[in-house]
């Protein structure tokens, strides 16, 4: 049976990393043995002729405090310096969250998605093309369409009400926004819908459509 390749995960230690760790520990052991030797040479004569076991502890303590201890203290200081530096560098890059952030530019100008805008523009183009034919029925239907487009936009922008009249009222607020022109156009549309014998003049139709266009511009959909 062929031998399977060993599974390697993304976070696994690489071969060079493992080698570096092994080499570091190996060098450390060598250094420790060397320090013991130095300690033996320097300390042993001062201890006189005591037993091996009682000599061991002073030698060990001497070598540890003269060689190993300073080495690791300096390594620790280097590590802490690296840690602090990298922390400062990575701080602005990390994906942090704020629970009570400030609104961004986008949130400040309250507007629904741009998705609707292009749609509204396409619809509007269709309305203009229809009105441009000059046929009475087409002009009537264009005005009705324009009115329903405005109504849809009002609805999408969150103005409440059961019908367009109420939505316009809610749009005007306490009279801070002018809606008299759009009211006039809306009345024309109502006349078209409710009176089958009504004939709309060209001038009236163009005026109403212009009003709708201006209104859509103030609603920032075009």
């Amino acid at each position: 049976m062929p031998k399977k390749r060993r599974f390697k995960s993304h976070g696994e230690l690489l071969l060079p990393e493992r080698l570096i760790i092994k080499a570091f520990i190996f060098l450390l052991v060598i250094y420790f043995i060397f320090s013991l030797y130095v300690g033996y040479v320097r300390i042993s004569p001062t201890l006189g002729s005591s037993s091996v076991f009682s000599r061991l502890l002073p030698i060990l303590s001497y070598s540890w405090y003269t060689f190993i201890f300073p080495l690791f203290i300096s390594l620790d200081i280097v590590l802490i310096l690296i840690f602090i530096t990298v922390l400062i560098l990575v701080w602005p890059l990390r994906q942090s969250i704020k629970v009570y952030p400030k609104p961004t530019k986008y949130g400040k100008n309250i507007k629904m998605k741009h998705e609707h805008d292009s749609k509204a523009l396409t619809t509007w183009k269709g309305i203009v093309t229809k009105a441009n034919t000059g046929v009475q029925t087409n002009i009537k239907s264009a005005i009705i369409d324009a009115d329903s487009l405005v109504d849809r936009v009002l609805k999408a922008q969150g103005f409440s009400g059961d019908n367009m009249g109420e939505r316009l009222k809610s749009y005007s607020g306490n009279g801070s926004r002018r809606v008299d022109l759009i009211w006039k156009a809306h009345k024309l549309r109502n006349e078209i819908v409710h009176n089958p014998e009504f004939e709309v003049t060209r001038a009236d139709a163009m005026g109403a459509l212009a009003t709708y266009r201006e209104f859509l511009k103030t609603l920032k959909v075009m």
Binding site: K4, R5, R6, F7, K8, S9, H10, G11, L14, P16, E17, S61, W64, Y65, I68, F69, F72, I73, L75, D76, L79, I80, I82, F83, V86, L87, L89, V90, W91, L93, R94, Q95, S96, I97, K98, V99, Y100, P101, K102, P103, T104, Y106, G107, K108, I110, M112, K113, H114, E115, K155, A156, G158
Partner: protein
């Protein structure tokens, strides 16, 4: 702490004290090194991630796609070959290379459904080629990132009167057990063919005006042989059961209990599952709606529940990751600051959605991105194979009623006939030849 050891008369305690002080720097060094390494790699990886350039693609589907999810399965297999990973010290410690991941999204703006992809820009052509190879009728167009139109943070959402719900979906059991795939949905005959994505299309198409619903799949290719770590588990599954049998004469002897068909099926399915290329996947659900038409039941029960169709009782199924779900009650630990905890989760989810983040690899990264109200240790990536991913995300086939919900390409695409002249006429050809 060490004050009680200061009695000079006790030689053992003095020795112990000097021993502890002496050994402290060494212990500190060996404990601290992994933290520094983790922080360093996180820093390099963040720099690498910031340097990546992305291409945002939209899949425009034609009127009829006769191919089933197998086409997408092949696309995922092609994408899997683009895998990269940090292979040497330079790539890991200086470049900070991470496996480049791909994002697939099924998004509904007020019921208008779109299929999006985000790919690494240099790989755009390869991914496009893979899609064209299996779906010649699909049009792939590069678009602006639509998330620019989403609220950027919870404050924006407050200002706009929006509310948000979201979670991450994970597997209920080990990755090695498969979910129900498109192959299972099509098993029995032509008439009962089903397209699992149709329920998502229908549910997303039902979104009201102003609602935003999205399923996001972030997939990073996993190295070949991702199932090898489950080798022992599979071996254990294969061992037949042994029971002691007492014969009428009184002596006890072991007998082997054979596997049932069900158990054999599971072993077969598991082996098939790990044979396919794997993807580390993070599935994110997001629902944003104006507060006046907000319905929590839609995402929480409907959307999450739709994932149940992929579940198989004896194998695997999807569950939501409760620790990141944007729903906190006062009955969850630590019982206080409910509002802030919800906001933290919402903010994290929205931010991760917009950045299409996958799980952070390094411990220090997780620690640094944590917030006191929401620690960032909860993300759990699952490994799905290409077949499972294709079942979750593929262009809807003709079994799905896409007409009312998705804008389609209305024209059929054909290649140019062979033998067309390359140059317009003789004059142009002359100019082309004589130009120096």
């Amino acid at each position: 702490m060490l004050d009680f050891l200061s009695g000079t008369d006790n030689i053992i305690l003095t020795g112990l004290k000097s021993f502890l002080i002496g050994i402290a720097p060494v212990v500190f060094f060996f404990i601290f090194v992994p933290f520094v390494r983790s922080l360093w790699i996180y820093w390099r990886q963040r720099t690498f991630e910031h340097s990546l350039e992305w291409a945002y693609l939209e899949l425009k589907i034609p009127r009829v796609i006769e191919k089933n999810a197998r086409g997408m399965d092949q696309v995922f297999k092609s994408i899997h070959t683009l895998i990269n990973k940090a292979g040497d010290l330079g790539e890991r410690y200086l470049l900070g290379e991470v496996t480049v991941w791909y994002t697939f999204e099924l998004v509904s703006f007020s019921g208008d459904i779109h299929l999006y992809m985000r790919v690494f820009k240099p790989q755009k052509r390869m991914v496009e080629a893979a899609i064209f190879a299996f779906y010649p009728d699909i049009e792939v167009i590069e678009i602006e990132d639509y998330t620019k139109d989403l609220p950027n943070n919870v404050a924006d959402m407050d200002a706009m009167g929006l509310d948000i719900w979201g979670t991450e979906m994970i597997l209920a059991k080990d990755d090695v057990l498969p979910i129900k795939t498109y192959i299972d949905f099509e098993k029995s005959g032509d008439e009962s063919k089903l397209d699992p994505i149709s329920v998502f299309i229908e549910a997303l198409g039902k979104a009201h005006s102003g609602e935003f619903v999205s399923l996001q799949f972030n997939c990073a290719p996993e190295l070949p042989g991702w199932g090898d770590k489950y080798g022992d588990l599979i071996k254990k599954m294969k061992i037949p059961g042994v029971e002691e049998f007492k014969s009428p004469s009184g002596d006890v002897r072991p007998i082997t209990i054979g596997k049932t068909k069900q158990e054999n099926d599971i072993i077969q399915a598991v082996e098939k599952n790990i044979a396919e290329p794997g993807f580390k996947t993070l599935i994110r659900l997001l629902y944003i709606a104006p507060k006046d038409i907000w319905e929590e039941d839609f995402p929480r029960r409907v959307l999450r529940g739709l994932f149940n169709q992929y579940g198989q009782g004896d194998m695997n199924s999807f569950v939501d990751l409760e620790r990141v779900t944007t729903r906190v009650t006062n009955w969850n630990f630590p019982f206080i600051f409910r509002k802030s905890r919800v906001r933290a989760r919402q903010q994290r989810l929205l931010q991760m959605y917009i950045e299409r983040d996958i799980e952070i690899e390094m411990f220090m990264g997780k620690l640094l991105t944590s917030h006191v109200f929401h620690w960032n240790f909860h993300a759990r990536e699952i490994i799905l194979n290409s077949t499972a991913l294709a079942t979750l995300f593929h262009p809807p086939t003709d079994l799905t009623l896409t007409g009312p919900h998705i804008q389609r390409m209305e024209s059929k695409k054909m290649g140019a006939p062979a033998g067309l002249p390359i140059y317009a006429d003789e004059k142009v050809l002359d100019r082309f030849i004589n130009e120096k």
